[in-house]
Amino acid sequence: MIRRHMIETLVVFSFIVSAALPCSVGAEPQGKLILFHAGSLSMPFEAMEKAFEAAIPKVDVLREPSGSQKAARKVSELNKPCDIMASADYQVIDRLLIPDFADWNVRFATNQIVLSYTDKSKFSKDITADNWYEVLQRKGVSWGHSDPNLDPCGYRSLMVLQLAETYYKQPGLYNKLIAKRPKENIRPKEVDLISLLQTGNMDYAWEYLSVAVQHGLKYIALPDEINLGNYQHDDLYAQAVVRVTGKEPGTFMDIKGNSCTYGVTLIKCAPNREAAIAFLTYMLKPDGGLKVLKDMGQPPFVPCRVPTEEMKARLPVELKGLVEVKK
């Protein structure tokens, strides 16, 4: 154990002394495959990793979950070696990785926002899809969401609150709710909130449906008009606008609501392109990765989608058959 540690430290030594890693070229899929993905994809990707490694034992899948923005920044700014990047918001790939670090962006699954809780949460017996906004305002109830500046789930949670104002015809609801939520109840990622729920430090947390299902949490499912889960309501969702921090401190940008749509891409300078394509081929198959997603509360697109013919042309040959062109 110690020896391994020493060897790794030596590798770091030599890494610092030498130059950056070049892109490698290989033939058969083998070796390490590095996958950066959104925190909310942790469980399905863990299951996919197992299935994929069982089928192709020579490949070792290394997953790094983080906020989607962070995953993108690890590639674009830290130049960390990475083969595949999967984001909880496909727009993150468009915004931060295309065209310099990636060529295409496949939308592969959806999700929706729910209000999750445990049976020990205050008023857990009373809460329903009709009175949740009233329960959240009660005295002593502690609820939170993830950081809108770092995590798509964070700004999406705020969008749900905005949409609820119109849907339930409660003018001023959004501001009233935000006033009830101290800054301390914000966490970097939506999965960080789960331990707060489970340890009784928080009563309710805004989560993705998939995360609530995978962690066995109770949850209130909201109407399609406000849950950001149905892309047919995208026009309605676009009425919600959340201001998040911009490219530098002190600047801001507005993000318009849209349905929770997951995107995946292959990084241009992937150290292990062969294994990455093999994994993507498995992942985007209806009876492969997409089935895993479906079983874990994350409805997939069957088949997966790219927005334009032009982007489809840029896909690796192996993936073209698994993808359709749809806006």
Binding site: Q69, E77, D147, E184, D192, G200, N201, K247, P249
Partner: protein
Amino acid sequence: MEKREPFFWLTISCGVIVMAFILLPLMDMVTAPSLSMLKETLKDRDVVRSIWLSMYTSGSAALISFVFGTPLAYLLARTHFRGKRWVESIIDLPIVIPHPVVGIAILSVAGRNHWIGQMLGDLGIRIMGSVTGIITVLTFVGLPFYINTVKAGFEGIPPRLEKVSRSLGASMSSTFFRITFPLAWRSMVIGLIMCMARAISEFGAVVIVAYHPMIAPVMIYERFEAYGLKYSQPVAVWLVLVCLCLFLALRILTLRRAREI
């Protein structure tokens, strides 16, 4: 000139490699932001507040370690009892536990599902997302460094001196405060520095217990995620500079006094 043994050159070259290993990445980080960028960052109230909060919370953790750790370190240095090895191993535990686990462990006793959490709640004390919570975490991770340093300090003082004091009729407490403490205070200052240094660098456990209010390492993380490297580096540089000055001052102070004695 006298001929050096190859071993001498081995020690020198290893020394150079170690220095380069520590300094190269740090130099790179420290020199990356421009001066104007550093100035700009210092004007940012949030940044100043977070660095101050880091100093304040880790300093508090060091003081708490001082109050509770000193007697225990003395006990461990002076007495032998069954299970002493166990006690020492337990004190070292916070060093080996992965940081996020520390955070989750502290939150689980502080939550409503635990009697301690219920008691704290009744008293109106909040751990999650509070300065109290941050100090709790930092004390947890810093305590072993204080106790181990001070224990070694006490062990370096000959028990003979204490025995003389006791034989002349001084009580245990007055012996401790009039003989042992003045001789060991330097190791305590070093212990405080070690403890505070460890506390100031903690990120993983704190971010679970308290994201807001933001200590400097959490802010560095938040800045990196939200704005990228360019805006997180200056905060890191300021934190490193402030720590460097503080610890250097403390060291110089204690070394000079030691020479006077």
